[in-house]
Symmetry: C2
Subunit: 404 residues, 2 copies
């Protein structure tokens, strides 16, 4: 698979999170010659919070995690790529419980402290044994979470991803860190689409603090990206705090929040940069809407429009399609108050093309890898930013051949 042209130059050098250990292996379940199973263990006292897909047909692992998340304690995370264990019925649930029990027994912890995530094809039977037979080996191979291990973990959870995704941040005023890895490149839509993101900190934080921080961070990161408007059955974001640094979240709540937000936004942007077939990273900024909610609906309407996205792929400043997307959003707007910019070039105002508009300038902006569209609705103070990518032949190529 060709690496996305929007990929970062290299996987970042992620710091060790005290209390976190990692091992990966090749289960052979679906892929050949690559790792696809990752077990991350965490020291005693690790707290956890999570956010899951809003799909009404979630995968078995998502249902498992939802059931245990409120206990707020985690000791292990087992994640496999290739089969999502979604729509696998009662057998899928049985497998999930068996895997949690298997890890729990070996670690001598409660099964309710073992988190599970699966990503890949939906609706194919999931064989417990293909996972469980690997668990003893994974446990005996656990390594300190250094840069090398993080990269291995980020690689093991990929499906159609063309690059591994990681990010980190030191929590200001402390020596504690936040480290995250993620996967996702298709079925990415606002409101938690196909993606997994696991974020770890050595801060000491009760699960209730994690919950507030995570919900805040998700809204402006993972919930503000879209690749194809599709929503997966498996989305999972988990935030774990081992407490090994002895720094308390409550003493540094603002800095902690900022660090988690930074890592979440970086991971979310990397997911868009790996959008299936993407050649442009696109920021859609809507201002001047009735309120933030309205701005968000308009921004999503633009970011999800196949006609806008194909125009971006063609580097064509066909701004009529942006108007179309604003119009179809159904939110309050007034043709004569709207303003539209591509890059710095003001294109439309007073209900028509701006007199000073130079198409060559907008076209030249669209030739860049990073593209911005700004729409000012001109009637209020609501604003929202959404990130997306263009829609290319490659998207069709990837998705018309995914299973075979």
């Amino acid at each position: 698979m060709t690496i996305s042209p929007l990929a970062p130059i290299a996987f970042p050098d992620l710091p060790h999170v005290e209390g976190v250990e990692i091992a990966v292996t090749e289960s052979g379940m679906r892929y050949e010659g690559r790792t696809d199973l990752c077990l991350i263990t965490m020291s005693e006292g690790t707290s956890v919070s999570g956010v899951f897909t809003k799909s009404l047909c979630p995968s078995a692992p998502v249902e498992w995690c939802k059931r245990i998340i409120d206990l707020g304690t985690a000791r292990a995370l087992l994640c496999n790529a290739g089969n999502a264990n979604a729509f696998t019925g009662q057998p899928g649930e049985v497998v999930t419980k068996a895997s949690a029990a298997c890890v729990a027994e070996e670690l001598n912890v409660a099964p309710q402290h073992v988190f599970l995530a699966s990503t890949g094809v939906i609706g194919e039977p999931f064989e417990a044994d293909e996972i469980n037979r690997n668990i003893p080996e994974l446990l005996s191979n656990q390594e300190k979470s250094d840069a090398n291990e993080w990269e291995k973990a980020a690689n093991a959870i990929k499906t159609t991803d063309t690059f591994a995704k990681g990010s980190s941040c030191v929590i200001e005023g402390t020596d504690a860190v936040v480290v995250g890895i993620a996967k996702g490149s298709g079925m990415i839509a606002p409101d938690m689409a196909t993606m997994l993101a696991f974020i770890f900190t050595d801060l000491s934080a009760p699960a209730s603090d994690l919950k507030g921080v995570l919900n805040q961070a998700i809204e402006k990161s993972f919930n503000s990206i879209t690749v194809d408007s599709d929503t997966s059955t498996s989305d999972t974001v988990l935030l774990f705090a081992t407490g090994q640094s002895k720094v308390k979240a409550s003493d540094h709540l603002d800095a902690f929040e900022k660090a988690v937000q930074k890592v979440a936004l970086d991971l979310a942007h990397q997911i868009v940069r790996d959008g299936e077939g993407a050649t442009k990273f696109v920021e859609v900024h809507v201002t001047g809407a009735t309120d933030n909610h309205s701005a968000r609906i308009i921004a999503k309407s633009i970011a999800n429009s196949p006609l806008v996205k194909t125009a971006l792929a063609a580097e064509d400043p066909n701004w009529g399609r942006i108007i179309m997307a604003v119009g179809k959003a159904g939110e309050r707007a007034d043709r004569d108050l709207l303003k539209i910019w591509i890059g710095d070039e003001l294109i439309a105002e007073n209900g028509q093309q701006s007199h000073a508009y130079q198409e060559a300038k907008a076209a030249s902006h669209l030739q860049k890898d990073n593209v911005s569209i700004h729409v000012d609705i001109g009637i209020g103070d609501g604003s929202s930013k959404v990130w997306t990518c263009d829609l290319t032949h490659q998207y069709i190529e990837i998705n018309a051949g995914y299973r075979s």
Copy 2:
């Protein structure tokens, strides 16, 4: 442009509608070597009703039509292809009025009886003169609406359409007819997307009767199709009744309703068959939902999913993506009660793949031009049918090159 593989073999042989005359010409406004301007005149006493785009940034002609529709009288319809006169500000409105006035003066009727429609690029200045200088010639060339003229009219209103669209029906128990022409192939979504449809009858009907009949017909035809979920600024459906047959709508209301529904559904299906890049005509049938509204939301979620549509293009029975689309619709559903069929093949039941499922059978159904997906939610009586097409390389090809 290659004709869609899903196109009918030939343009239908449409009957004359007494009181309707047609002329077309080449304005030279955008296209070379093809007709792009059509003037249809109607006899005195013609009543009219219409339905227009819900876009909040509608085109100038749509705003014009919305202003005059409640008067209920029509004498002419002027339609051009190539420039939508949308987001053209005050100048666009001035042009619209000037064109209506120009036709009205020549015909010696009120400008409020002249309907206008424009389709094509959004946001480009629209020169009145390019239209108006053709009006005298169009009026002097008006011909009786026979099969030949209907085909010319249907061709003159095309943009990215690969074939002209027409349909007709005799109103049962009468010798009155319903004839319709339409255009549309992109920006097609439920709730009135980029498409124009003009339907004519020689029945005698007050505008109020037309309104009821049209609203009924649209719901299960034009509002039940989707190509790319985008909604245009120019959608217009007009129903004209010349009254020349002396048959009264009130004496045959059921038969009239049926005839309009038949013509509207046939035109809507033709639009899907000309969906940009379409190689499959897809019926999505949802049953067993909480209510009809819920069924419709689920059906649209499936029909609009890029992942479902690329799988169909690949003739891949990747039914996990159908589950995904049901799940993301946000409507009541229960994994264990869902049933999914592709063609006649039952794929999923009891929360997992059906034991009797044979992938080869589903795959073989997907090799056909006409494909059906049936999802039974299993919790209520709500049902809905939506028609769409697959998402192919050709869609990208067409939409990444439309303006240039």
